[in-house]
Amino acid sequence: MRRATAFVILLALGWAAWDTGADPVRLVRGMPWLVDIVRRMLPPDLRVLPAALAGAATTVEIALLGTAVAAVLALPLAFLSARNVAAPAVFYPARTALNFLRSVDTLVYALVFVAAVGLGPFPGVLAVIAYTTTSLAKLYSEAIEGIERGPVDAITATGATRLQVLRFGVLPQVLPLFLSYVLYRLETNIRAATVLGFVGAGGIGFYLQTYLRLIDYPAASTVLLVTVVMVMAVDFVSSRLRDRLV
């Protein structure tokens, strides 16, 4: 049985390699071109630094605003899709809807919202909200499902209402987890937001795409450097905050 499984997996991977044309020889042949591109990127053209920084600021704003709104919108959805809190009649439709919406990535939402509200950072914010709300709702609801039963029983036994039980028995158990998920999402949203500009949804990605199209590699490398520094800075701050939560 185990051998058969291994065989099937190997077969699938082999087929995938053949079908995608994955060929180490081609990679090796392409190496000189890779080196050439890197060489042409150097030195970075620092004249575009102000534009790159402005783009980075927009990207951070998109991620911050989108994540913050989603963190709140996800709360009611999470309680509705937590098995141990919601009634089955609510739980199953809610969980199915979340899984459905979550299967669409931020970039795809961005395409849709650009078509709906036009170019610029605003459709980017909407795209981040759309994806993050569903993904946070899923993470939240799993945290709710993992709580200790004991304190919930104890609060119920005092004659508390359902809302009071959620507030005093459930929320204190899940709040630190919720905050840490929000920060984690902020980190991934910064990364996701860097490419939103590729589809016209604002931020630093717009500059990267523009300079690559103009074959202005020194300018593109400046934008890339700013992107790397921005992502690292947000990761650093966010992980420090998360450490404090636990």
């Binding site: 004991g150 304190p151 029983d153 104890a154 609060i155 119920t156 036994a157 005092t158 004659g159 508390a160 209402t161 809302l163 009071q164 507030r167 005093f168 028995g169 204190p172 158990q173 709040l175 630190p176």
Partner: protein, 247 residues
Amino acid sequence: MIEVAGLRVVLPPATVAVDGVDLAIGPGEFVVILGPSGAGKTTFLRALNRLVEPTGGAVRVAGRAVTGASVAELRSVRRQVGVIFQQFNLVRRLSALDNVLTGRLGYVAPLASVAGRFPARDRALARECLAQVGLAHLADRRADTLSGGEQQRVAIARALAQSPSVILADEPTASLDPALTGSIMEALRRINMERGLTLVVSQHQLATALEYATRIVGFRRGRVVFDGPPSAVTPSVVESIYGGAAP
């Protein structure tokens, strides 16, 4: 104070945990439910305020129906019944005082309490209850930084904050260092004597049961096999409860 008639609890999938129990407990009694683990003591206690839904039979507490009560009625009965758990069941991230304050949830305005606002007299009462179990100095400590014995005393204070007429305690000393058993049971006895509260406490330790109870109810396989004063607990009674395996 507590009237139980034909109580039956079947836990999913098909475990008969309580199998037809009739019991009447008067005001001010200190009843110890004695029995080996798996005898149905915990399920019986949890069925008394419907933390576990009874499959059949009737429960009345302080003259009010528990079984068949509406959501609002049930809440109002639960308020009168303080519960102490084997695992303390404090909310870890809340302070000792805030844990005691949750005992007032059945009395205060629901929305204000959800916003974290409690009337001054409820706060004062919570402090008083904490002082009564000797922990006034630990009021602001987070619950999970307290020792097991301290946590169980906070839990007792939480039950007292409900201004209950009955306290149910499920193996309140089983998770504690045996040296602490006496202090917890002593605290319960004081509540029973000074406030005249009715206590129903489950215990698997025979010696502790005999020392504190005014009445022993022996459970075995979900049924009552003995009901009488501690003085009537003879070796053959012990045998009938524990089935030969000495406690």
